[in-house]
């Protein structure tokens, strides 16, 4: 289990996070929701090692983890898919999946080994791309998002963080990506999903954690929660 414990972070006059805690279990999709500026991205950045907290921190299986930079986070099995996809459009799917982690033999790229495991990975996630050797520029938005998410799995992580993965997608492609998120759960990964879209959140998550003005403002089991109660927690209306 990966947890954020009592995390606080201040940017100048803005208290972005105040004593925020969050538990992430294997095989569970947790949705992190909240209004603009609630502190969602800041919390994710702390977990992913992009910014350091003023106090509090991350524990892994109960042990305090030292996460000083994104590389540390990756090594500890925390993988993040950022909102802007960070794919190289001129490279093909295989090259993008293994970017920066190329499999090599005598410093030569192992094209066949990488393509084989890329295919296996995409098949296991049921991502359908007709020819994975074409530049990513030629894929649809949903396919690209799927590649970005598949890429997060290359290092065999235990937690995958997704920042607004469906924000730019149409109905059908959103459904594709939500399916993919369910498959991450089936693989036993912990998934942290940031989304403004409550329909998506209700469709895939097991638990909803609400942030409001940098504080924990409620936690629901998705199956039990009503749309109204979640909205009330987000807006701070008396529930």
């Amino acid at each position: 289990m990966i947890s954020a414990k009592n995390v606080s972070k201040r940017y100048g006059a803005v208290q972005a996070l105040q004593e925020v805690s969050l538990d992430l279990h294997p095989g569970e999709v947790v949705a992190l929701v909240g209004d603009n500026g609630a502190g969602k991205s800041t919390l994710v950045k702390v977990i992913a090692g992009v910014v350091g907290p003023d106090s509090g921190g991350v524990t892994i299986d109960g042990e305090p983890a030292h996460i000083g930079n994104p590389h540390d986070a990756q090594r500890l099995g925390i993988s993040t898919v950022y909102q802007d996809l960070a794919l190289c459009e001129n490279l093909d799917v295989v090259a993008n999946l293994y970017l920066g982690a190329e499999r090599r033999k005598w410093s030569l790229l192992s094209h066949i080994r990488m393509e084989r495991s890329a295919r296996d990975l995409l098949t296991s996630l049921d991502v359908r791309i007709r020819d994975i050797r074409v530049p990513v520029a030629m894929l649809s938005g949903g396919q690209r998002q799927s590649v970005a998410i598949a890429r997060a799995l290359i290092g065999e992580p235990r937690l995958v963080i997704l920042d607004e993965p469906t924000a730019a997608l149409g109905v059908e492609q959103t459904a594709q990506v939500l399916d993919l998120i369910r498959r991450l759960r089936e693989r036993g990964l912990a998934v942290l999903l940031i989304s403004h879209n409550l329909a998506d959140v209700r469709a895939v998550s097991d638990r909803v954690v609400v942030l409001r003005l940098g504080r924990n403002a409620g936690e629901f089991r998705t199956a039990d929660a009503t749309q109204e109660s979640i909205v009330a927690a987000i807006t701070g209306a008396a529930a």
Partner: protein
């Protein structure tokens, strides 16, 4: 796994159009241009397609082509190197002064000149990455500054003649005997055929799709035809020039490095999306510095080849239109100015186009004013194709 998934299907016309729209034109525009050039000049002047002239053409290509190969290294990152011409002249002068005036061993002089080129590139790379100056400005300063240093080093005399029978001059006056040329062709065909066969076997064993067998056969056949044709033509004259072999080796070697090493992959990644490369843990700074080092070192080598052909260096070395020819060749050959797209063969194909236009117009005694305008038109066309392709790939 059934046969349908194992054989990668040829593209349907619709998909082919889609690929074209995304700028995946490959080498076809250039090949078309070369055929057009051969037809036009060949019909205007019976000497243009003669073995003697084509052999001259091969000899003329090597120096500027090598500089162009260096330019491709920075173009792949979406940067530019305007100093390549000056650096080529400067390093040729360094080589000439060391070997002639100082009496050094010519090979040692060449090595030192190449190291000087690498140092210049390192300086450019550091100014670009650490001082965050635009590459355009860094290398524009280099264009003027290294030209200045060249003039300073040449001093009063202004010219250094290389002995005609010396090692350097001999480089461009060495011709492969027919048996050697044919052996090289056979080796190239066998290696590329063999490696594609092995690759096919391995892919099938890994249950990965392979292109149809006839397609691989066509490719090998085309390679054989082109190489054999070239050797046949040049053997009818003086033979295959060593300079062409050197240039060709560089093109092939750099292509292999770019496609089969992590360094090459990272070059394309940085050119495609710097932010993505950085997040993937690639040291963007190191790649950028290396690209500038490669560019200047190859420019230095091109300068030495050029000095070899002239058997001299002078105040005009690396000057006039060499830089623009080299950049134009890279772009005409299909390297994108926007980074991330292109192969080293662009240097070979592009310089072939430019040099044959130059050569053809020279044969027709067309004034150089017209030659400049025609070259400019070809360059503009190539850049237009590149820009349209980029628009296609971002929408």
């Amino acid at each position: 796994m059934n046969a349908a998934t194992v054989t990668r299907k040829p593209y349907t016309p619709k998909e082919a159009v889609e690929r074209l729209r995304h700028g995946d034109l490959g080498a076809w525009p250039v090949v078309g241009a070369l055929v057009a050039i051969a037809v036009v000049f060949g019909s205007l002047n019976e000497h243009f397609l003669s073995p003697e002239n084509l052999t001259n053409l091969a000899l003329q290509m090597a120096a500027t082509g090598t500089i162009s190969l260096g330019i491709i290294m920075v173009l792949l990152l979406g940067e530019i190197d305007l100093s390549a011409g000056s650096v080529s002249g400067l390093c040729a002068v360094v080589m000439a002064i060391l070997s002639v005036r100082q009496g050094w061993n010519p090979i040692l002089a060449i090595v030192v000149a190449l190291a000087a080129g690498a140092l210049v590139g390192l300086l450019h790379g550091i100014m670009f990455t650490k001082l965050r100056m635009p590459s355009f400005v860094v290398t524009l300063a280099g264009l003027i500054g290294w030209q200045g240093l060249l003039l300073y080093l040449l001093g009063e005399g202004g010219i250094v003649n290389l002995p005609f029978d010396g090692f350097v001059a001999k480089l461009s006056d060495t011709w492969l005997p027919a048996w050697l040329a044919w052996t090289i062709v056979a080796l190239l065909v066998l290696t590329s055929g063999g490696s594609s066969l092995v690759n096919r076997r391995l892919r099938l064993a890994a249950e990965l799709p392979v292109p149809p067998a006839w397609w691989a056969a066509v490719k090998i056949g085309a390679l054989t035809a082109v190489l054999a044709g070239a050797v046949l033509v040049m053997s009818a004259d003086r033979g295959v020039p060593l300079l062409l072999v050197i240039f060709g080796t560089l093109v092939v070697a750099f292509d292999l490095v770019l496609r089969h090493t992590a360094f090459g992959r990272w070059m394309y990644a940085v050119g495609g999306n710097v932010e993505a490369a950085r997040r993937a843990g690639i040291s963007v700074t190191r790649i950028r510095v290396l690209a500038f080092v490669l560019s200047s070192t190859l420019a230095a080598f091109g300068g030495i080849l050029s000095a070899s052909r002239l058997s001299a260096v002078n105040q005009g070395s690396g000057g006039s239109d060499i830089l623009l020819m080299a950049i134009a060749a890279a772009v005409i050959g299909g390297t994108s100015l926007f980074g991330g797209r292109g192969r080293t063969y662009a240097a070979l194909l592009g310089i072939l186009v430019i040099q044959s236009i130059t050569n053809g117009m020279f044969l027709l005694s067309v004034d150089s004013s017209v030659r400049y305008m025609v070259t400019a038109a070809v360059l503009a066309l190539a850049v237009a194709i590149d820009s349209l392709a980029r628009r296609g790939s971002t929408t």
